[in-house]
Symmetry: C2
Subunit: 266 residues, 2 copies
């Protein structure tokens, strides 16, 4: 179905705009992704938006045409609107010329097939949606299977996390679980849990990593709870040559993930 | 000097608050840093704020006392105010209990002593202040000398960059220059320029890094201009196992910096 929207006060505009708000997003179980690049990433991963919102007056583009016809063929809705209305929906002054509304994915641990990838990223109480999206993007780059979010993390479906993921929200598995459920699930199969830590740790280079390797990073200000570190199979530490004793959480995860990748590919 | 401020409309409050705005900050050549941790980092690096703003009703703290007496001894100003006013100055709902106003540093290339460190980070047209601050933080961790900002980058003295640096703004050198000036300066001494690149590149692991090694990362969406990559002594590439062809700029810089660190420490 195809339709046009012109007014700012149109109920569809309000509903789309509300998806930037977590409470509303939770209720609707749908999320917003912006930009042709992200939407094409989704399409090529076999995921189409339920609604595609496009600014009129945009430049023609083959990938946009492909997206439009796929969405229509799948029974989705294509909405044409003004740049100004699109800006209002996305909350950006210079909006991309296209945005999509997607159904949230199943984020239960049960849908995670640990054997499909040698690396998994795990974040505990990660509060910053930019860090969360960056971990997804890094996971894609290192060939990880996905990102498991432990305890109270930022929302992976927030506009900021989706944007920072650069499309990896569509290619990486995302799971959410409490610590106890995660550990029970992890120990029900194979899997090595590795923490970046300062306690009782081996140098991160040359440590005995084994696939499937679950790389655990902690909260931005508090790091990992000690009990969680103790539950890990391996604690590794990165050099800290300066005054600080920690790295940004997304950076620590990336440095470690690239080391694990090099190690298991030998 | 010590004084109290109670009203929101006090001219000092307005002046401090205005430091969150780049234009104003440029004119004043002063910047804001928040939180006892950052301010203590500064103090221990021998840098004191011209003004120290503290919320009344805060918990006593030895480090805060030390800061206060050092600022007063150095002829600076200590301002007591309410939590509400401090929140207004810092623009945060839950402000830290202390903030400081610092004079901007000299960011000319001439103050950079390249031989004082084996690694330098270089960012070109980096637009995100969070990425900029994260690169500073990573630089501190790997024992880099500092961060050189090429072309039109985010402001290293913005509240966001200072916050993301976690204090490294006070421990790392920061320089700003156009590309031509940078290259002329670089080639006037020793120094290897290394780019993360997909063009004509060696695998990043085991590449022949040499100190002082200048690690160059590019703009978040466009990467490095081809001419800049060609001017590098070494182009290296990191594995990309997924659909994406790039990493977050701060992540790419960190993965590469840790590899260079391991390489030159042999």
């Amino acid at each position: 179905m195809r339709r046009s929207i012109t007014g700012f006060s149109n109920p569809t505009v309000k509903a789309l705009r509300a998806l930037r708000d977590k409470k509303h997003r939770r209720r609707e179980r749908r999320f917003l992704a912006e930009g042709l690049r992200l939407l094409t990433e989704a399409r090529e991963s076999g995921i189409l938006p339920e609604q595609l919102v496009m600014a009129s007056g945009r430049d023609p583009h083959d990938l946009l045409d492909a997206l439009e016809s796929d969405v229509l063929a799948a029974g989705g809705e294509v909405i044409e609107t003004s740049e100004e209305v699109l800006a209002k929906i996305t909350g950006k002054d210079n909006p991309q010329t296209v945005a999509g509304v997607f159904a949230e994915f199943d984020t239960s641990l049960q849908q995670v097939d640990r054997d499909c990838a040698p690396i998994w990223l795990v974040a505990q109480a990660l509060r910053d949606p930019g860090n969360l999206g960056t971990l997804l993007r890094t996971g894609d780059a290192v060939g990880a299977g996905g990102l498991i979010l432990i305890d109270d993390c930022a929302d992976p479906f927030s506009v900021e996390a989706v944007r920072a993921s650069m499309g990896a929200i569509f290619t990486q598995r995302v799971a959410q679980a409490g610590w106890d459920d995660f550990i029970a699930w992890l120990r029900s199969g194979t899997g090595q849990l590795v923490a970046a830590s300062l306690r009782d740790a081996l140098p991160y280079r040359g440590a005995p990593y084994a696939a499937p390797c679950f790389i655990l990073v902690g909260n931005e200000s508090r790091g990992l709870p000690e009990a969680y570190e103790r539950a890990c199979d391996l604690r590794v530490t990165m050099p800290m040559r300066g005054r600080a004793d920690s790295l940004n959480a997304a950076v620590a995860g990336a440095v470690l993930a690239y080391e694990v990748l090099a190690s298991i590919e030998g």
